[in-house]
Structures are given as structure tokens and as C-alpha cells.
Symmetry: C2
Subunit: 429 residues, 2 copies
């Protein structure tokens, strides 16, 4: 058996797999972008491929009720739960080749490396592909890891009923693709020892700081609100400017205020990414406009403070406009701040230090939500970040160098082995 | 033969026909609204009904290459072209029961009145139902009257290729409904002596002034521009507020400026009724937003002046934002100011004065575009307006009293007869 700390992943194999599976299933024409919506034909094909690869490595593959794939390589200690590595293979409608995908393909490369070096771990080691992390097809980000990490059976039933824009339900899509498994989607019945997720940063901080690796200690708190602005329809040619009740003009002022409030308070980030207009007629004054505000801050308290400041500004704008428009706010989704576990953080920190030295590492919070944010609520978890070129993500221009992908994968391997060693030695309980 | 000036339309029959044809074809549930998109099944059914009614009155019915229906009641002077009355039976997706519909049903009531009183006019009298006036299904308002009124065969071919949001072309829709006629859609080959259009005002002016009838002398000039704002996509959670290039925030500032510029210059009205966002993802900073600006003023010079002022303000906003967003403007559509013909205006004025006296009449410009704006470019035309409750139109709440509908119809009848008399007497050449 090889000395564990000298084990190295195969960088060429990882990057060849990353690129070839992207060009095979979901590549966007004329760019290096990807479109692999959850449970689409492209997603089914790469899932089938992944299952076959894992089985070829001798793994035991289970699919749960939300289509999450668990591919387990056995350990020596039969009584232990697995140390997991994973992320998601689905993408935004016009996304990149790294967000989520890197975490799953790196996990596969770790399994391949363990197999070809005949490494016998103490704990089992499991690869996970979580379903519909993006929430781009079925609304609701980190959907299937969320179901797994919460105790409520209602969550499962409710998610099964969520429909895509063509009216196809999640449950139907799971059936059609043959990924409606019978393993319970529940951390209590299909548990893990711990969870590690390698991901691209999706922001500009590592690049700006000139660092190679982010040791992620937490995920910031997030909240989404849907805002509906109501006005009165009217003919654009016959209704005088005075007396109009134009919902789109009011919504425009509110959207500007979302940005201005986030900038002036310096509490976090706030974004309007989705907007719809009921009437959509060139000659009609809009009477109903809806938009969604995404607020994210380091702490849950700051999320509350920023939301409160935004809605206070909304009240002032509505009063100042005095054009008989009104607004209603509904909270649609939230994920409290997630603090990662020191056992996992230390495993990543030590593996990263081993690989690039302390000066190339930075401890950071995640701005984006990830499956690890959910798993951290119920099992020890942490994440590894590698740099994103120009901080761009959710875009075909998303890019991380082959070298950085390999570096992240190597650290994932060593973090898993370090954690496994800790369990074996009893330094991790 | 009855004395022409004592001829009266049947108010009950008109209003019964108006309401029963609406509830039969296109009524919106739970409101008095209508949804009868051009060349939909609802539109085909009322067209079939209209053709049958006109044939039963002894009219000769022709359908042209754009599906416009011409139902002609013969006159004594075989060499004369017809005096026409008409409007459109199509509606906005959630429209009312009067916009367009009143003008066609009133024309039918005039034909019925002429028939049952055995009136022999000098000129033929024709009812017209123009196709796709709203432009709500096939983009482009007043589409088929526009083709008829312009000389270019390219216009016909281009309009045939225009597609609805389901990808169905105008030509296909004409074929499917059996309204692709072989009469040339060209005023030179299928000409008119003159054109009268009864319409609801769609604005608040008659009601506010306490007047019963608008004698319409012109239609204001209009111009539509499509504006595209470009920014850079980014992840909403990981991209700092500083350095964002958010196309929706910039578009919001521009939309507010459209309203503010129209108000401050007092040149006319400007409205953004249509907006789309390329990305539509809660977690993505929008990189591309498009919207359409509708500008309308009394004169073409004022339209130009207002557009110039709006785009100058856009430049200043873009410079002040300095967030690396940019905008492009494309003119998509325009209708120059239309001046109606004094022969037709006088026929309406005299008929209205006869009916309600001079004090109940106001001469006015039309804020909305109408088929008469196009016909006026090539034949003598004018319009009659009746009040709209609260000035509301393009909305299920659109309403005009039965009494006012009947009044408009009576004036239409007498205006047609007055014009016919003028031709017969030689006072109109």
C-alpha cells in the first residue's frame, strides 16, 4: 500500500473527464458554456455515465427518492458511515462547465485514485451527485440536499409536486429519467460521517488576493422576497401623464432602491434577477409587476437589517410617488447562515497547507449557497474553493484553469484521507 | 322611402348584438372583459357570424389577402366607390368589449337599418372588419389597414411572415381560419370613396369635459423604440455591489427617466409597456434587458423633440451610473400624425349636431392609433368618439354606456348619409 500523503490524483484524467463529459452532454454551441438542466436528457445521460463509472470502480450505487446518487466505496470499518464528497451536475440554462460539475468529477477522480492505488480507507468513501442544486428548472435552489437534510416528509412530497415551466413535475421528471429511487431521502436513514465539497469560488476574491485555495468556514445567510407592485392599466396614447398609476415605473424605482440600499448600508449584497410584467403590451400602461429580491449577508442579523432597510425605503418611495401604486412582499425562501465544522475545516486546511503552503490559502465565507450549506445542518461539513477567472459564474464564460481544478481535487483527496485518519486514530470522534 | 334625416338605428338591437357576440366568443370569466386575439378560434367564429349576417342583408362580401372583410351594400350609382364604416373585432389579451368591436357592430347596425328601411344610397356602403388592429397576437398594431393603405407589396409579404409567440405565422393563421382571401389588400385595387370609424375614446377627456361626442380631427403622431441595455452576468451572492454591471438596475433608471422626461417637457406621453430580462434567474445579475418605449404627441415635431430629450437623459444616466452598462436604441415602428379630411369631419359634425346639439360636442385629436389613421393617408377619413368610463381601455373594466354606444351608431348612420347626400348633390367631389 502506497504512503497516503504521497498519493496524487491524475490531473490529466480529471481535466479530460471534465471537458469530455461537458462536450458530450449539454455543451452550448459557440462557447465553452453548458446547459444541463436538472433531470433533462443531458442530465440523465451524464447520470447514467456516472453510475456506470462508479460501478466499474466497485462502488455500491444507491439512488434516493429525490434522485440523489450515492456511490460508496467500502471501508475497513463496517460500522462507520461514509465520508462523502460531492456537488451537482446540473447547470443554469446558460451556465459554465465548473459550477457543481467540478465537485462531482473531482470526487470521481478521488475514487479512481483510491482504486488504482489499492487504498483501503477506514471509513467508506461516498461520491454524491445532488439533484437540482441550481433550481433553474424546478424552482428552489439546493432542493434535493435540502430534503435530505431536513426531517420533514412534507418537504419530499412538496418538492415532488414542484413543476417546471412546461408543467412537468419533479416526480414525473424523476420517473421519466428512471431516477426516482427507493432509498429514503433522509440523513437519518441514509446517513454520512461527514461531507466535503470542492467548488469554484464564483466570485473575484481569490483572484484579487492572488491566492490559490479558499478554506471555506461558512456560507452567508440568504433570503428571497417576491414583491408585487400593483397599478392601474390604461391606454398609453390616451391616458395623460398626470394621474397614471404605472406599476413598472414604481417597480423601476424600487429596483434602483434595492441596489442603492445595499450599497449605502454596506451590510451585504442585494439583487433583483427576476422580473415579470403582467400585461406586456406596447400600448398598455403596466398594472402589475413582480420581481424577486435576493439578499445575502455574513450573518442572519445583517440579512434582517438589510431587508428592513430596503422595505423602509420602498415605503418612502411609494409615499413620494403618490401615484396610487402599492406593493406587497412575500418571503419565498431563506437559508440561515451555515457554520462549517472545525473537524472538516481542519482537514481541508491541513491538506491545502501540505499542497501549496499557508501563504497561498485564505479562509473565507461562501457568498453562494451550496449543497454543503444544507448538509452542514446535520453532518460535519466543509468546502474547498478554487479561483474563478474574473469572478464570473452562471455564465458560459465561467472558467477555472486545469491546474486549479487539479489542485482542488488533490486537496479534496488529502482532506478525505486526513479526516479518515482522524477517525481511525480517534482524534475525530 | 323614409326621410333620411329621421332614420334611427335600433339601440336595443345594437346593444343586444354587442353583448351577445362578446359572451359567445371571447368573454373573460368573472368580468365583462374580452380576449379575442386576431385569427384565434374566437375571432374566426365571430368573423363567420359577421359574414353570414352581412350576406343575409344582401351584401356582397369580399375577403382580402390580409383577411380584411369588406361587406358591400350596393348603391344606385354603379360607378362610385363605397363609403366605408368599420373598425376591428380583435382585442387585447385581457381587453374590453368596446375597443374596435363597437365600430364594427355599429356598422352592421347601420346596414340593418338601411335594409329594413329600404334606403337606397347613392354610393355603395361597405362594412369593414380590419385584421389584427391590436397587434397583440402578431406584433404590429393596425397591421392590415396599414398594408391596405400603403403601396408596397413587400408590406404584405413581410406581414404574412410575422409570427405569434407560438411561432405561427400570420399567413398560416389566415389559412387555418379560411380568411386568406384573394382580393388584393391594396387601396388602389379595392378602393373606397371615404371611411368613417366609430370608436370609444379610450381616454378620460370626454367624461371630464361632460361631453357626449368627440368629432375627431386627427390622430397624434407615434413612435416606438426598442431599447437594449447590456451589462455583465454574475452570481448574486459572490459579486460585490461595487463593480457590478447590472443591466436591470440601469434599465430601471432609464424607465423612470422616460416617465420623468415626458412629465417635465409636457410634450406628450411616453410609456414603457413591454420589458424582458434575458437571464431571469434569482441568483444571477441580469446582463441583458430590453424594453419598448411608446411616445405620442400632437405633432410629429413634438414626437421627435420628446424622443431626443429622452435619449439625451439616457446618455446622462449611463454616464452618471458608470457601471459599464450600455444601451442601444432601434426604432421599431412609427405612425406620422394623421389629419382627417374636412368632408368627413363635417359629415360627422353635422350628424352629431343634429343629434345632441353643438354644446355636447368637442373636436379632439385621437391619442390612440386607429385603422382610420392609416386609411386617412389614402382616402378621406374621420372618426367619431364616445365616452369611456374613467378613461379605462385595454382592460376588462373598459365600459361605455348602452346609450352612448347607440348615440355613436346613430351619428355614424347620419354621417354616412350626409356624406352620401353630398356626393349625390355634388357638394362633395
Amino acid at each position: 500500500m502506497t504512503d497516503r500523503s504521497s498519493l496524487r490524483i491524475n490531473a490529466d484524467r480529471l481535466n479530460e473527464t471534465l471537458q469530455s463529459t461537458c462536450t458530450s452532454w449539454g455543451a452550448l454551441a459557440n462557447s465553452t458554456g453548458m446547459r444541463r438542466l436538472a433531470l433533462s436528457q443531458e442530465d440523465k445521460r451524464i447520470r447514467d455515465w456516472l453510475v456506470a463509472e462508479c460501478k466499474a470502480l466497485g462502488c455500491d450505487v444507491k439512488v434516493d427518492q429525490m434522485g440523489n446518487i450515492f456511490a460508496m466505496r467500502a471501508g475497513l470499518a463496517k460500522e462507520r458511515k461514509p465520508i462523502a464528497m460531492g456537488s451537482h451536475l446540473d447547470t443554469q440554462p446558460a451556465g459554465g462547465r465548473y459550477d457543481g460539475i467540478l465537485g462531482v468529477q473531482a470526487a470521481l477522480e478521488v475514487l479512481r485514485t483510491l482504486k488504482e492505488n489499492n487504498v483501503q480507507t477506514h471509513c467508506p468513501v461516498t461520491l454524491i451527485d445532488w439533484t437540482n442544486e441550481e433550481g433553474a428548472r424546478f424552482p428552489g435552489a439546493m432542493m434535493a440536499s435540502g430534503v435530505w437534510s431536513t426531517k420533514s416528509a412534507t418537504g419530499l412530497e412538496a418538492c415532488w409536486e414542484i413543476k417546471d415551466i412546461e408543467g412537468i413535475s419533479m416526480r414525473k421528471a424523476l420517473e421519466v429519467t428512471s431516477y426516482l429511487g427507493d432509498t429514503p431521502c433522509d440523513y437519518r436513514e441514509n446517513g454520512l460521517e461527514s461531507y466535503f465539497e470542492l467548488h469554484i469560488e464564483q466570485g473575484p476574491k481569490l483572484e484579487a488576493a492572488g491566492k490559490k485555495v479558499g478554506v471555506v468556514t461558512s456560507v452567508q445567510g440568504m433570503k428571497w422576497h417576491r414583491v408585487r407592485v400593483s397599478g392601474v392599466e390604461g391606454h398609453s396614447g390616451t391616458t395623460p401623464m398626470i394621474g397614471r398609476s404605472d406599476a413598472l415605473v414604481t417597480a423601476s424605482r424600487l429596483i434602483t432602491a434595492v441596489r442603492d440600499t445595499a450599497k449605502s448600508t454596506n451590510l451585504g449584497v442585494a439583487t433583483v434577477g427576476v422580473l415579470s410584467n403582467d400585461t406586456q403590451s406596447q400600448a398598455t400602461i403596466p398594472s402589475g409587476v413582480e420581481f424577486i429580491i435576493d439578499v445575502r449577508c455574513s450573518t442572519d442579523g445583517m440579512v434582517e437589517e438589510l431587508c428592513t432597510a430596503i422595505f423602509k425605503n420602498f415605503e418612502e418611495i411609494i409615499a413620494a410617488e403618490s401615484n396610487n401604486t402599492s406593493f406587497e412582499v412575500v418571503k419565498t425562501w431563506g437559508l440561515p447562515e451555515s457554520i462549517f465544522h472545525e473537524d472538516c475545516i481542519e482537514a481541508v486546511r491541513s491538506a491545502a497547507t501540505l499542497e501549496v503552503g499557508g501563504s497561498q490559502i485564505v479562509e473565507m465565507k461562501s457568498g453562494a449557497g451550496h449543497d454543503a450549506a444544507w448538509t452542514s445542518k446535520v453532518v460535519k461539513s466543509s468546502m474547498i474553493f478554487v479561483p474563478s477567472r474574473d469572478g464570473i459564474s452562471h455564465n458560459p464564460a465561467e472558467f477555472t484553469t486545469a491546474e486549479d481544478c487539479a489542485l482542488g481535487c488533490q486537496i479534496l483527496l488529502q482532506a478525505v484521507l486526513a479526516y479518515d485518519e482522524g477517525v481511525k486514530n480517534g482524534t475525530i470522534s
